[in-house]
């Protein structure tokens, strides 16, 4: 078993970290172009029992309970 898997990473995390390191090691003129490919736009909403379980809603509920 490889060390990164023992550390709790899966292959996707592993290759992402490797890709980031390679991008950082590039020369300055190539790096700026490569960094554009590094960005992530996706956001996630978990669904539970047919409704979106938003963290935001949990946050509001938490506030209501506390106050």
């Amino acid at each position: 078993m490889s060390a990164w898997r023992q550390a709790g990473l899966n292959y996707i995390n592993y290759s992402q970290i490797a890709a980031r390191v390679v991008r950082q090691a590039l020369k300055a003129d190539l790096r700026s172009e490569a960094l554009k490919r590094d960005e992530v736009n996706v956001k996630f909403t978990q669904w539970k029992d047919g409704k979106p379980a938003s963290k935001y809603i949990v946050f509001i509920l938490f506030y209501l309970v506390v106050l």
């Binding site: 898997r5 292959y11 290759s15 996706v42 979106p52």
Partner: protein, 313 residues
Amino acid sequence: MVKTHIVKFVGTSNFKMFSNHMATIVRLAAQQQQQQKRGMATLKAISIRLKSVKNIQKITQSMKMVSAAKYNRAERDLKQARPLGVGTKEFYEQAEIQAPPEDEKKLVIAITSDRGLCGAVHTGVSRNIRDALLADPKERENTKIICVGEKSRAILSRLFANNILFVASEVGRKPPTFNDAAKVANEILNSGYSFGSGRIVYNRFKSVVSYAVDQLPLFDKNAVVSAPKLSVYDSLDENVIQSYLEFSLASLLFYSMKEGACSEQSSRMTAMDNASKNAGEMIDKLTLTFNRTRQAVITRELIEIISGAAALD
């Protein structure tokens, strides 16, 4: 006649954004018609409508230009991403992997985006999933859906709200990156939902004018290990297969997102082209009615003056 034309125009070009706007104009025009009776006084109403249709045509034309530029980029990106998807698919076919029949849990991933005004791109994907799930109630129970893009969420949550595992939004504003796909794949792996088999439903780009709903298979590790022809591949141990499956999930997602983005832009291009064409037709008809009405007003005024003068004689 003009009003039905507006309805047709809005319907054919999938005009959600403007339909509200148009509806108020139509209502305003109708009110004016009631106030001032039929005939000559609609001149102003027609010119207002003419102006708004012209504005809409300008908007659709510029949207077409924008999506044409985006499409060019998407097609270039797609060419580079294709080997990732085709290679992975080839592995599944060569090893003749089949889903274990005893494991009924399934996963469906709908690849769409957040943006509309692009023809039937999103409905096609959603309809494919809907038909499959409605045909078999057992499958409906055992299938979880992952929606990539708000559009599939909007359609699928109406019928299968209980089946949705999670929704990935903010897709489609920028071209998808591999990191996006990797994050979705990671989310799937961490969701704790174990499935025997699955599929990615996406739009496969064929040419500028055509795309088709297609699907890519997904398999569990057990299905891969027990595949009959796995021996055609050399030196595979458990770790390699596990790592490869994780990576192939990300690359299949990436590939299908690229295909989807490309077909979406090409479809938006044709949709906006059609919308501009329809708007052009409407403008022609409205100009004609406008001129005719103006002519009629002039004629009527002349008749009034002449008959008034004749009455004085």
